[in-house]
């Protein structure tokens, strides 16, 4: 007798058997990014894995680039729609210290805080961490490396999704196109 638990359909299994390859995607010019603003890029085409199709890109005030998957490991929320801020640091009893300003990403669903440098969650002591992508700036262009499967067909299209900062500006009546 053969028993199955959550057997995948044949089509997905074939996709799963395809070879992995790394794709370097040009996100745009580095001068389009403001320090402290997390922007969300939607990637389509060329066998990009489903979970890698939305990536948050952040330039921190100290000039470091970070790219994270737009998926909270806690409950799967769109973590990159959250705020970038600091956090209260562990200190001695009776003292309060705010730190890591501009390096903490707060998931909008349950307010879990993640260190964008390491991807670690500051709330829960387990292995849940943000998935990070290698990101580099070369010749003024921001490039991120993501995983794709199957043969390379065409290129990757990049569309910038509305982020928290842009939504706030639009709500204030600002011209959204000026912030793209």
């Amino acid at each position: 007798m053969t028993r199955f638990v959550n057997t995948e359909d044949e089509q997905e299994q074939r996709q799963d058997d395809d070879e992995e390859r790394v794709v370097s995607v040009v996100l745009g010019s580095a001068d389009q990014f403001e320090p402290g603003r997390l922007r969300i890029a939607a990637l389509t085409g060329d066998g990009i894995m489903p979970a890698d199709r939305e990536i948050g890109v952040l330039l921190t005030a100290d000039g470091r680039w970070h790219a994270v998957r737009n998926l909270c490991p806690h409950r799967g929320g769109a973590v990159c729609r959250g705020r970038i801020r600091g956090t209260m640091l562990p200190t001695a009893p009776g003292t309060l210290e705010y730190g890591l300003d501009g390096k903490i990403l707060v998931c909008p669903w349950h307010q879990h805080e993640f260190d964008v440098e390491s991807g670690e969650c500051l709330f829960i002591d387990d292995q849940a961490r943000l998935v990070k992508y290698p990101v580099e700036v070369a010749d003024g262009e921001v490039r991120v490396q993501v995983t794709a499967i199957g043969p390379a067909v065409g290129g990757v299209d990049v569309v910038w999704l509305p982020d928290r900062a842009r939504a706030a500006l639009v709500a204030q009546g600002a011209e959204a196109a000026a912030y793209e």
């Binding site: 638990v5 995948e8 799967g76 387990d126 849940a128």
Partner: protein
């Protein structure tokens, strides 16, 4: 009893629930997807494997159990 476990990378969203349930069987790969650490599983692993399957929100883990007396 032969137990075959597979992780569908196309479905995996790296919620890392399987890693928490069975850290000796699953790990997060460099590409950000769950990977199997072992090739073989025994009957004693089935309870945790079922828990891993149930905990995966994207249903990316499949477990196939074949009994030895299977004639097909």
């Amino acid at each position: 009893m032969q137990i075959t476990v597979a992780v569908n990378r196309y479905r995996c969203k790296a919620m890392q629930k399987c890693v928490r349930v069975m850290p000796d069987a699953f790990e997060m790969g460099a590409a950000g997807y769950s990977k199997l650490l072992r090739d073989s599983f025994g009957e004693q692993d089935l309870p945790l494997l079922r828990k891993a399957v149930a905990s995966c929100p994207s249903r990316a883990i499949s477990v196939q159990v074949e009994d030895e007396d299977d004639e097909t």
